[in-house]
């Protein structure tokens, strides 16, 4: 498709009458005031100086106009570096596990009959609509020391390991393991859906052709299916990684308080320590870290789009 040089008549009319100004202007203005302005405040706050006033920050006067203390502390204070590493590690683990579980599930979805497929897709999406908080909570019930699930795992462990290793329960709660497990649970649909939509588009004739040429089924998967699903893998991976890295609810409920994730650090700096400039510096740093994978994503997305157009 070439670039549309002719204006849509509807757009033309609206433009003439000023309706287009209204249709564009209203959401534009809303986002400027309630999204962009708060965002600009965060960036400006990250270079402000903390003061004992209310609100707790200052510019100019006795304070430097641009105070980079917050950013300097990010690089020197262990707490922040460790929090960033914990977040990135947990998010990466969750992403990889989601991929390992989600890929065969998505591929399986493309192989079931059409009627089943709609039902199963509905079942994938359904947890996504039910309360996020309650899905985390459901796992708190399962992981607790006295739960049937923990009991089951404990007896499995005691059965499989030598006698000296016996335990009374498995300490799952309040650990990075718990965080990753619950992240996989809550974000798995985000991995399955883009994978499914990229796998669904593949032409089964290609598989058959490779099979006819003597490739073994696993070889077909490696040489034909996998390379073609890379856009789906990247989309799903980022849809899991990005929210997981900034997660606040899951680490607060099931995480290890001694190894906070970065979302928790931002929230604590802001609410408990009342250090707005520091909270903002951490927030800006987190956004910068997230911009990189997002750019990679849009790069691949653009590439996939031009590829399709050929």
């Amino acid at each position: 498709m070439g670039p549309q040089t002719r204006r849509h008549p509807l757009a033309e009319w609206f433009h003439r009458r000023g309706w287009s100004d209204l249709i564009i202007g209203l959401p534009y203005l809303w986002l400027l005031v309630l999204f962009l302005l708060p965002f600009v405040i965060v960036v400006a706050m990250s270079v402000a100086t903390r003061t004992p006033t209310a609100p707790p920050f200052g510019y100019g006067g006795d304070n430097p106009v641009i105070n980079l203390n917050g950013y300097a502390r990010l690089l020197h204070d262990d707490l922040y570096i460790r929090a960033f590493l914990t977040s990135l590690l947990n998010a990466a683990n969750a992403m990889i596990l989601c991929l390992l579980i989600g890929y065969p599930m998505a591929l399986g979805l493309t192989r079931v009959s059409k009627n089943w497929r709609n039902v199963l897709l509905m079942l994938v999406i359904l947890p996504f609509w039910t309360s996020f908080l309650l899905r985390v909570y459901a796992w708190m019930g399962l992981m607790g020391k006295n739960s049937w699930f923990n009991g089951l795992l404990t007896s499995l462990w005691n059965w499989a390991t030598p006698e000296g290793w016996a335990v009374t329960s498995i300490p799952m709660m309040h650990s990075n393991f718990a965080v990753v497990l619950v992240m996989v649970y809550t974000y798995l649909p985000f991995m399955i859906l883009p994978l499914y939509s990229s796998l669904e588009r593949l032409d089964p004739a290609l598989d058959e052709a490779a099979m006819d040429l003597g490739t073994r089924p696993f070889g077909v998967f490696l040489d034909v299916t996998l390379p073609q699903s890379v856009p789906g893998i990247i989309a799903g991976g980022l849809l899991v990684f990005i929210p997981a890295a900034g997660e606040l609810v899951i680490p607060t409920l099931v995480g290890d308080a001694a190894q906070p994730m970065i979302g928790r650090v931002i929230s604590d700096e802001f609410a408990s320590a009342r250090d707005w400039p520091m909270a903002s510096s951490v927030a800006v740093a987190l956004l910068l870290i997230m911009v990189v994978p997002t750019m990679i994503y849009s790069h691949y997305q653009a590439k996939a789009d031009t590829g399709e157009r050929k």
Binding site: P38, M105, R135, Y137, L142, L287
Partner: protein, 279 residues
């Protein structure tokens, strides 16, 4: 010859067990007679009874639904406008910034949206005296802002897919553009607008983080109430509340799915018939 991919089917079975066992376990334990949430002590419905007599829960539910209804409706209006603008008005000043502002909230960590919105409200109160206190209004404004971009995404995708030729035909037949928008464009994108509304409604009803930053004293939504209790551990009355919410939402999603599917099928059939009549 087609072989059944047993490995894939096994993974599907495990995956669905993983999805649903925690929820089923929670439902079963909501009927637990024991005060200890994770130790079975016989069947009982007493937690449901105590839930229904709990005024706090009722008030929180009403507040949450009010906020969700208002914010989803406003978010749908604004989001639909933005989606139409991005898909149909190809060129306008500041389009790049607009696209950015519509995309960025989708990937923004909630905690950052939370603190930025709270700082905005506090500073506005300092500078212009508004908002005087935080609560219903500030929560609703924050919810509208972060859910409207989801509506925009859904509507924009739909409008870009729909055929411009139908709108052009209506224009050629003498419809006024405002009529075209009302009679042609909006009915075509209606399923998208409806699912956008549902999405905005659930996002608002479900939100903890942004609400916890923008709320004020005495304004406890249902997720905030659950959040404050869940932080202290697993309790049987939360199991009961969770069961009711999960069942209500599940039923709602299934019904909405069926309605949307039907509407979509009807629209597709009408379109086919219209094309056939032209041939």
């Amino acid at each position: 010859m087609k072989r059944r991919p047993w490995f894939l089917f096994t993974m599907l079975a495990f995956g669905f067990a993983f999805f649903y066992i925690p929820i089923l376990s929670m439902i079963v334990y909501s009927f637990n007679g024991s005060r200890l949430a994770t130790v079975w002590g016989g069947f009982s419905t007493k937690w449901y009874a105590s839930l229904f007599s709990n005024r706090q829960v009722g008030a929180a539910l009403v507040l949450s639904v009010q906020i969700a209804l208002i914010s989803a409706t406003v978010a749908t209006i604004l989001g639909t406008m933005a989606g139409l603008a991005l898909a149909r008005f190809t060129k306008f000043r500041g389009r790049l910034l607009f696209t950015g502002m519509v995309t960025a909230p989708l990937v923004m960590p909630e905690v950052i949206t939370g603190i930025s919105t709270l700082m905005f409200f506090i500073l506005m109160a300092d500078w212009v005296g508004w908002p005087g206190s935080r609560g219903f209004t500030t929560i609703t404004l924050a919810h509208i802002t972060f859910s409207m971009v989801f509506v925009t995404t859904v509507v924009q995708a739909r409008v870009s897919q729909s055929d411009r030729a139908i709108e052009e035909a209506a224009m050629d037949l003498g419809s006024r553009p405002w009529q075209v928008l009302w009679d042609v464009t909006l009915p075509t994108i209606f399923p998208a607008v409806l699912s956008g509304w549902l999405l905005a409604f659930t996002i608002s009803l479900d939100d903890v983080v942004i609400t916890s930053f923008t709320t004020g004293p005495g304004n406890t939504t249902l997720p905030l109430l659950i959040w404050s209790k869940v932080k202290l551990g697993v309790t049987p009355d939360i199991n009961a509340l969770a069961t009711l919410i999960v069942l209500a939402v599940g039923a709602g999603v299934i019904i909405a799915g069926i309605v949307l599917n039907r509407a979509e099928a009807r629209r597709a059939r009408d379109e086919r018939l219209a094309y056939r009549a032209n041939e």
